[in-house]
Symmetry: C2
Subunit: 209 residues, 2 copies
Amino acid sequence: MSEQEPTPPPEALGRRGRGRPRATRRRDQILDAALAEFAESGFQGASLAAVARRVGLSQQGLLHHFPGKEALLIAVLARRDEVDVRELDGLGETAALTGLAERNTRRPEVVRLHTLLTAEGLTGDHPASAYVRDRYARVRDRLAHTLRAEHGDRLPSGATPDQAAALLTAAMDGLQLQWLYDPDSVDMPDLVGLLTDVLRGAPPDPAPH
Amino acid sequence: MSEQEPTPPPEALGRRGRGRPRATRRRDQILDAALAEFAESGFQGASLAAVARRVGLSQQGLLHHFPGKEALLIAVLARRDEVDVRELDGLGETAALTGLAERNTRRPEVVRLHTLLTAEGLTGDHPASAYVRDRYARVRDRLAHTLRAEHGDRLPSGATPDQAAALLTAAMDGLQLQWLYDPDSVDMPDLVGLLTDVLRGAPPDPAPH
DNA sequence: GTCTATAATGAGATAGAC
DNA sequence: GTCTATCTCATTATAGAC
């Protein structure tokens, strides 16, 4: 995590001029490939050679840029982290959750990555464990905070903000699983919206859809 | 699946008398060990040697009873399947879902197995894919059927039986994930009950707990 | 039925040439 | 920066002795 430098200070980059340094380009290419590969096969299931192939490198060529497989995953997650934090901060209102579900529908790769790593993180000393645990804490916290701001200590449905946060988080994860298995089986934004409404005690829409 | 013989015909077992044949004993011991190991490390992460160690066998001794790792998983799932079907059939009323959540709290091993395999099943040609896909179809179907029997084509909350079934299934899966990461973070039966109530449009309990 | 010995593979990682 | 060659290790699986 200490090697995460969104915009490294110029002096630390040596004599590189304006624009993205080539090395960083390559680095990003590799991270893209790694994300794709991890999303497809999980961390354990992915091989460095497969990642390397995606960028047209040999396995050893890849290892010039990252010290090892685990470091590669850490780097992928560090990059995801920035986006993640932004997205969570965007959840200032419960309506934004539907928007997130909508966006997710357009990026199955990211959804797969998170879903696979969340499960893998349960096993032994998986490198993603801390990331996932942290993420859960943040998501639920952020959601509960928003709900409390909107409804106080109890929602019209009777649920507490904490309960609602756990349920909404659970529904997101569970719906993603069903959706990944069969995208036509569930309408994620629709169902997240429905759950949000129901938890907020909204009256049933007489003619939905 | 064709090698699954819950109670093999006596004549096929040679000259063994009453009681469980020794071979079946061993088989069950191995399946127990395999379930435990798969639940701990997932299918990919588990090694045959680790399973064998749990029953006090060498890896090769184990392979005398099952032709390979994949066959071992299939056998574990086939045995789970019987229990699974019974449990799903037990969901004749939505209240039973809370009971299932309650029971799950007392068997983290089974919950882990299902959670890990559900995610792993997304990757490539995982041997559990079919099992999981099938399971989802059955669960949602069974739930939707129950809900329709109880409420007709629309629940008081406004959700259709299909929507509610997807949401309840998702919540179960998602809550299990959070619970496995931190058992104290969520009260599964409580939250499942809450979601059920809310979807059924039950009035908020003025003083819950 | 269980073991020892032993392939056969596949993966992560290192050393050093270009 | 990227490659070839190589090492090491874990794992699945087979062959055959007891």
